[in-house]
């Protein structure tokens, strides 16, 4: 497979990515220090509150200006900055290995960018590609928990070792989120959402469990406009099921309406669950996707 993340690896793109951050709507509940706002008080530069001095408090944090005015001792409290865990999912099922250009290529590039942005802002990245067989065992361990700027490039390299194939994905990942230990955080799923199981329920449950979910739906131009017509026997690459169909240009409009209906349905599920939904065509320009579409949709800032 052509290296999907190659275009992300370009240094000028990486430099831009380093300036970006994922949009976090919630305060971090993690216990590990990072660069995200949390409810905890601690020792960042961000002032939070005053508290009466009690014996034993660090004298460095006494507010001497207040003592001069009020003749009373106060301790300055600062916000503690914590890491924000990011769950990133890349659908590597067989269906992603379709389209011209490949859907997987676009999806992997987005995953690379989101992952890199996460790592660059000292957040913890939990990367997951399903089906599990598509990830080489050496990379699978690494993906479980990634943190720190130093591993950014290693992350990108490991991402390239994923070979799409097999069945399933998105729904399994959403369900696995519920069993994940530790604080909830951001969950970004990149998939074509062509799952036989409806995505609505698991999405609701994941959001209900405290995850801030973003669903990036990557579809190929061939799925918007089928390049074939006539009497066809369509074979599903994942399940092997076939579907006999008579299709002609005269039914193109009905087909497009149906695709739009399908996308709208997923968008509705996301809205109901409180998740974000972004549709991206695999033939879009990557820079535009990363620095415009995802920004406009409020995924990256």
């Amino acid at each position: 497979m052509a290296t999907p993340t190659q275009s992300v690896l370009r240094s000028e793109v990486l430099r831009k990515l380093e300036q970006l951050q994922l949009v976090i709507q919630k305060r971090s509940r993690s216990n590990i220090r990072g660069e995200r706002q949390s409810k905890a008080r601690g020792h960042s530069v961000e002032f939070a509150d005053h508290r009466n001095y009690s014996a034993g408090d660090d004298l460095r944090y006494l507010d001497w200006n207040l003592y001069g005015r009020l003749d009373r001792l106060f301790v300055k409290l600062y916000e503690e900055e914590r890491e924000f865990p990011v769950n990133l999912f890349l659908d590597s099922s067989e269906s992603m290995n379709f389209g011209e250009p490949l859907k997987f290529e676009m999806a992997a590039a987005i995953a690379a960018a989101v992952g890199y942005v996460t790592v660059a802002s000292y957040d913890r990245l939990r990367f997951c590609a399903l089906p599990a067989a598509s990830v080489p065992p050496s990379a699978a361990g690494f993906f479980r928990s990634i943190r720190g700027r130093g591993v950014g490039l290693r992350y990108l390299q490991n991402l390239q070792s994923i070979q799409p194939g097999g069945q399933g994905g998105l729904v399994e990942w959403l369900e696995s989120l519920l069993y994940q230990p530790g604080p909830r955080g951001l969950a970004v799923g990149i998939s074509d959402c062509l799952d036989t199981r409806p995505v609505g329920e698991p999405l609701k449950r994941a959001c209900g469990a405290g995850f801030q979910v973003v669903l990036v739906q990557v579809l190929s131009p061939q799925e918007f406009d089928p390049p074939f017509s006539g009497e066809l026997k369509l074979v599903d690459c994942e399940s092997g099921a076939h579907q006999e169909i008579t299709f002609g240009k005269y039914r193109l409009r009905a087909y497009r309406q149906m695709v739009q209906g399908f996308i709208d349905e997923i968008a509705d599920s996301c809205r109901q669950a409180g998740a974000r939904h972004v549709v991206i065509r695999s033939d879009s320009d990557l820079d535009e996707v990363l620095f415009k579409t995802l920004r406009e949709k409020g995924v990256i800032k």
């Binding site: 067989e94 269906s95 992603m96 290995n97 379709f98 389209g99 859907k103 074509d192 062509l194 799952d195 036989t196 190929s220 799925e223 074939f228 006539g230 009497e231 066809l232 026997k233 369509l234 074979v235 599903d236 690459c237 994942e238 399940s239 099921a241 076939h242 579907q243 006999e244 169909i245 008579t246 039914r251 009905a254 087909y255 149906m258 695709v259 209906g261 399908f262």
Partner: protein, 230 residues
């Protein structure tokens, strides 16, 4: 077999049309796609107005095609042309007038008439009898009533064309009398009378165009017998 109105065969075009429906349904191009999910939805939404879906696995289609084929055949009005059969009492009148020497028909009108008469004689069934009359300026019986083909053919061969006009009226009167009283000079025992060549309408007494088959399309009877210039 032949057809009275072959134009009806255009209806046969309906067979390939039916066949087209059938074949198109069967021969499908297999195509691997990312997911049939979208297509299942598409079908579910549009199935109601898909005309092809209803024709699926339909034995009725073959019956329809057969029916259409028979209809087309019936419209074309088929018939079978059998061997020409000559039976009963026959009188062959061969025009031997001078005009028959004309060669507008190869080799000549008379030779052509002789061939046609020969064909009728050869087609005679056992039991059929014939009389050969030469219609020249004088009408003469070239061969009296007989059922022997060899004699009739020999008499036909010996017949020669004359240079004079044809006494058509006389010849037909003679033929008529022969047909009316077959017992007078025939071995036949009152077989249904008909003039040769009019076997498809035995009641008709005589028909100039069919008489003797003597070049009836070849102007040997350019003048109707009743109005022959004497």
């Amino acid at each position: 077999m032949n057809f009275l109105s072959p134009g009806g065969l255009f209806f046969l075009l309906s067979i390939p049309v039916i066949l087209a429906f059938y074949i198109l349904k069967r021969r499908r191009v297999e195509k691997r796609i990312s997911s049939t999910l979208l297509w299942e939805r598409f079908l579910a939404e549009t199935q109601a107005n898909s005309p092809f879906q209803k024709l699926r696995r339909n034995a009725l289609m073959i019956l329809q095609m057969i029916l259409a084929g028979f209809l087309a055949l019936a419209l074309a009005r088929p018939f079978l042309a059998g061997e020409e059969k000559v039976h009963g009492m026959n009188v062959l009148i061969v025009d031997a007038s001078g005009s028959m020497m004309s060669t507008d028909v190869e080799p000549s009108r008379f030779e052509s008439a002789r061939q046609i008469a020969g064909k009728i004689i050869r087609a005679m069934e056992p039991g059929a009898v014939a009389t050969l009359i030469r219609m020249g300026p004088r009408t003469e019986i070239a061969q009296s009533t007989t059922s022997r083909k060899a004699e009739l053919l020999a008499a036909l061969e010996a017949m020669e064309v004359s240079t004079g006009p044809a006494a058509a009226l006389e010849a037909f009167q003679l033929a008529e009398s022969l047909v009316r009283n077959p017992s007078a000079n025939s071995e036949s025992e009152g077989a249904p009378c008909s003039l040769s060549g009019s076997h498809d309408s035995p009641d008709q007494r005589w028909r100039p165009g069919g008489v003797g088959g003597a070049g009836h399309k070849k102007s040997s009877h350019s003048v109707p017998p009743g109005r022959h210039p004497q």
